[in-house]
């Protein structure tokens, strides 16, 4: 299996995701944002980081990169695209996913472990997760407060596009377990065709017990 990781100026989780993919024997090519051709791949990953310094709006400038035209086309033909953190922000800015990620409601960067509940385990990204599986995965962002219009939310629900929601250790989805003000505690969504996933938490940071956890592993295994 082959993955392409898109590197934007200011991406900084590109190496982390490469290490994770390779740990699961997924061959990884790093693709610079100015490239005009996507290598043949089974998966495209938009990594976390601060593309363009998070200036203007997170992900806005990256979404206009040359390579994004290719990524959009690739997604349109059913190719799998996975955006983590800044990658999720880029996907919404590029229109591949609905909604937008606003500033965290407390206006502070938050880096800590949170729990997320698997709402849809029928996607290519989550098929190895048991139903309602609760994962402990860290977040690290300034802007993870998911927003979408009423109609968009309805359609996310109708099409089973909500993949992860923030919850507590027992799986309760409440205001208390919402770290950033995200609408409906949304932590990750897929597009209608279920081939594009965006999520704020970083599964690539929990694949090694020495570094604090292994709950991210099942997501990568699902991709295989």
């Amino acid at each position: 299996m082959k993955a392409s990781v898109i590197v934007f100026p200011g991406s900084n989780c590109d190496r982390d995701i490469q290490v994770a993919l390779e740990k699961f024997q997924i061959a990884t090519t790093m693709v610079w944002h100015q490239e005009t051709e996507l290598p043949k791949s089974d998966l495209v990953v938009l990594p976390g980081g601060f593309s363009y310094g998070d200036y203007l709006r997170c992900g806005s400038m990256a979404s206009k990169s040359k390579i994004m035209k290719e990524v959009i086309q690739y997604a349109g033909t059913g190719g799998y695209v996975f955006g983590i953190c800044n990658g999720f922000q880029i996907l919404t800015e590029a229109g591949l996913l609905p909604g937008a990620l606003l500033r965290n409601n407390k206006l502070k960067f938050i880096c800590k472990d949170v729990q997320i509940k698997t709402i849809n385990n029928q996607t290519a990204f989550t098929k190895k997760l048991s139903e309602h599986k609760i994962l402990t995965v860290p977040i690290a962002h300034n802007d993870g407060n998911f927003f979408a219009s009423k109609e968009e939310i309805q359609s996310l629900k109708d099409n089973n596009q909500i993949v992860f929601q923030y919850c507590d250790k027992e799986g309760n989805i409440s205001g208390e377990s919402n770290p950033n003000g995200s609408f409906l505690n949304i932590a990750g969504i897929v597009n209608k065709n279920k081939n594009v996933l965006g999520m704020m938490p970083h599964p690539e940071r929990v694949i090694d017990q020495l570094l604090g956890g292994t709950d991210g592993q099942e997501i990568f295994r699902s991709l295989l």
Binding site: P9, Y55, I110, C111
Partner: protein
């Protein structure tokens, strides 16, 4: 060319005798640009004129040191051809003026110091000190500084893994922001700032130059323009995005064979970077100022040379390699300009609009800079006072709760959750323990790092305080199982022109030196910040020490979290009950008299080795060094971290018990071991003549000390609330 006056020299911060010395050195009266350059190179920050004499006494070598002080950062060997490069630096004054940008650019500056040497930065740490929480400025400063450190480090994608936060009224008018960075490189790929090769091109890369932080320019602005409003010195604004690009571009260039030397533009910008490179290479340098990329119009030579715009580097390339280098910087969207060349004139020659606007010997700026042996007097060791009466009446639970809820001992997660401490995927121990542990990427070894200082000890007795700061880092590293290798230091003091302050400085250095020598734990880099004074009141002497150690096997490290119930808790090191200058006396009882705890360097070394051995043999289940708050707070922290309780028995009463529980004798650790290992540990301790005391065992839910009982849950709630409450409105 226009000539300058002694008044202008004074306005730029030079003294009359320094102005005379300049005239003597160059054999004429300097012009305005030249005077500005002298003022920048001869100020305390660049010349270390008050401190150089004493700094030279610090031990700087052991078998691991590859590069000691004198370069942008120090370098130590960590085996397998790998080196760790690190340094700490202050950004106190700018952070007080504009906390967000001041702290952010402080982080930016230290990062450049490290990657300029060829290292990829892997860990940030910070030591931040504020005035009392009630002071009207404190909350704003705390919030600004923390988000500034976060803003820069997070955007760069370098984890911020440790640090310290303290509140004390001595910092009301002078906060301290000390930022440290550690990077990794290969031993044969370390880049230095020594220029060589007459004719080699001098390259400017990074962001454009603006009028940022031009000190003194406003005072002298009548000299070059009436339109002084537009020339006001401005605060430097950091651009972490530009720095990230600069980092990647520099590391990419370093893979090619093109660089002779490289130096970041830090304090005094283009002036100090060009002079330092030339001075170290014993060469001259010629720069065409019209080639400097500018952000603003009509910038004058004085401004171009003194601007402190961020995210810029100066590089001497091998001749003919310009195109190859330019391609890389263009790829990363950065400015690139050949601005001059190395010469054999031994002078700094600046051209501007086809005129020579500066021509002065490099040696007059560097080697001949003033050096003062300032007067100093020592601080005597304060006498013990008897406070037993006050201690007799104290309730243990009340003391513990007051410590747990005190801002200085409260859980700092409000701070470090704003820092990305996991990015780069190698953080083994995040903030919250004794030292951060970060794996060396792709290997099984790890770097441990910590920053520490106890200013109340330093103020009471600078000599002891200097030793203690070094020892505390040594202990924090030992507690995670790392072998301490070297330190970096940031010496924050008041006005050195005062005898007492200079005395504090001298004695702290003496104390540090003794500790470094005894522990074979030398200083490889550092920074001095003087004149931290407002209205004649100086801060407490604050020598922040950044310690770095090595863990050979990442699986053989331990944390402060109690691991299981039914284990035994041992105190390693002797407990005498030294209560003076303890957190309890100082912060809770407000008794500020008396001597700090004594340092016994032989004990430090022996106990550290003993603890590291227990960790290496996987006997130690958890370890925490005993510092602020003594045995009681140390064990409470271990309980909170592991969410497991403990049962402690003292067999003491009244003042003696308080001293035992809250005293801050040095060289001590709490170690958790399985009961099956106990006899073996006792035997080892006997053999190595280490003092060991079993004071209790671990159990579920509660911490009990004699007849006192508190739930771990309650302690967590108490310990977690201060920062959140303080910042919630």
């Amino acid at each position: 060319m226009e000539q300058t006056t002694v008044d202008q020299a004074k306005q730029l911060g030079l003294t009359e005798s320094e102005f005379d010395k300049i005239k003597e050195l160059i054999g004429r009266i300097p012009n305005f640009t030249e005077l500005g350059i002298f003022s920048a190179m001869w100020n305390e920050h660049c010349s270390y004129k008050s401190s150089r004499v004493w700094l030279s006494k610090l031990p700087t070598k052991n078998k691991y040191v590859v590069q000691g002080p004198g370069e942008n950062a120090g370098v130590i060997d960590i085996g397998d051809d790998d080196v760790a490069i690190f340094k700490i630096e202050s950004h106190n004054h700018p952070s007080y003026i504009e906390p967000y940008q001041g702290a952010a650019t402080g982080v930016g500056g230290i990062l450049r110091d490290v990657f300029t040497m060829g290292a990829r930065p892997i860990a940030n740490l910070n030591s931040i000190r504020f005035g009392k929480p009630e002071h009207p400025k404190t909350k704003h400063l705390l919030n600004g500084v923390v988000s500034g450190i976060a803003g820069y480090g997070n955007c760069m994608g370098i984890p911020t893994v440790g640090g310290e936060v303290e509140f004390d009224e001595c910092y009301d008018g002078n906060i301290l922001v000390n930022a440290m960075n550690i990077g990794l490189a290969k031993k044969n790929k370390v880049f230095l700032s020594i220029a060589s090769g007459v004719g080699n091109p001098v390259i400017y890369v990074g962001s454009k130059t603006g009028r940022d932080g031009i000190h003194g320019a406003s005072m002298a602005s009548q000299e070059f323009d009436d339109n002084s409003e537009a020339k006001k010195p401005t605060v430097q604004v950091g651009d972490p995005f530009a720095e990230k690009l600069l980092l990647e571009a520099c590391l990419e260039l370093m893979k090619t064979d093109t660089i002779i030397s490289i130096q970041d533009m830090g304090a005094a910008g283009l002036t100090s970077s060009s002079v330092e490179m030339a001075s170290k290479g014993k060469l001259g340098i010629e720069i065409d100022l019209n080639k400097v990329p500018c952000r603003e119009t009509e910038m004058q030579p004085f401004e171009l040379m003194l601007s402190e715009s961020q995210e810029r580097m100066l590089i001497v390339l091998k001749e003919g390699k310009e195109k190859e280098a330019e391609k890389i910087f263009k790829k990363w969207d950065l400015d690139f300009s050949v601005i001059g060349k190395m010469t054999n004139s031994k002078n700094l020659v600046l051209h501007f609009n086809k005129e020579v606007v500066c021509d002065i010997p490099i040696s007059s700026l560097a080697d001949e800079a003033p050096k003062y042996n300032r007067e100093w007097i020592s601080t005597p060791l304060p006498e013990e006072i008897n406070i037993d009466k006050k201690l007799n009446d104290l309730d243990i639970k009340d003391c513990l709760i007051k410590l747990l809820t005190h801002p200085n001992q409260s859980n700092k997660s409000w701070v470090w959750e704003q820092y990305d401490h996991m990015v780069m995927g190698d953080t083994i121990q995040k903030p919250g323990g004794d030292a951060a542990v970060v794996r060396v990427h792709g290997t099984n070894k790890a770097i441990a790092a910590t920053v520490d200082c106890t200013p109340r000890y330093c103020f009471a007795h600078p000599h002891t305080g200097g030793m203690q700061a070094v020892c505390e880092t040594y202990r924090n590293l030992s507690a995670v199982g790392a072998e301490p290798r070297a330190i970096t230091n940031c010496l924050n003091f008041g006005n050195p022109e005062k005898k007492e302050i200079m005395g504090q400085f001298v004695e702290v250095i003496k104390g540090m030196s003794e500790a470094c020598l005894a522990l074979d734990y030398p200083v490889i880099s550092g920074n001095v910040s003087l004149y931290n004074e407002t209205n004649g009141i100086g801060i407490k002497p604050t020598p922040t020490i950044g310690g770095v150690g090595l863990i050979q096997d990442s699986n053989k490290s331990t944390t402060i979290s109690i691991k299981a119930t039914g284990n035994l808790l041992l105190i390693i090191g002797e407990t005498k009950g030294h209560i003076h200058q303890s957190a309890l006396c100082y912060d809770i009882l407000h008794i500020k008299k008396g001597p700090p705890p004594t340092i016994n360097l032989a004990e430090e070394k022996k106990n550290s080795l003993f603890v590291r051995n227990l960790i290496n043999k996987k006997i130690a289940q958890s370890v925490h060094d005993i510092s602020d708050g003594g045995i009681a707070l140390t064990i409470a922290e271990m309980c909170m971290s592991g969410k497991i309780g403990a049962n402690i028995t003292t067999n003491l009463i009244d003042a003696e018990r308080i001293k035992f529980l809250f005293g801050e004798d040095q060289a001590r650790y709490v170690v958790e071991v399985r009961s099956a290992d106990y006899d073996n540990v006792v035997k080892l301790a006997k053999e190595q003549e280490v003092s060991l005391l079993q004071i209790g065992s671990t159990k579920a839910e509660n911490l009990t000390i004699d007849d006192m009982k508190i739930t771990v849950e309650d302690m967590l709630t108490l310990n977690n609330k201060w920062f959140h409450n303080y910042n919630s409105n």
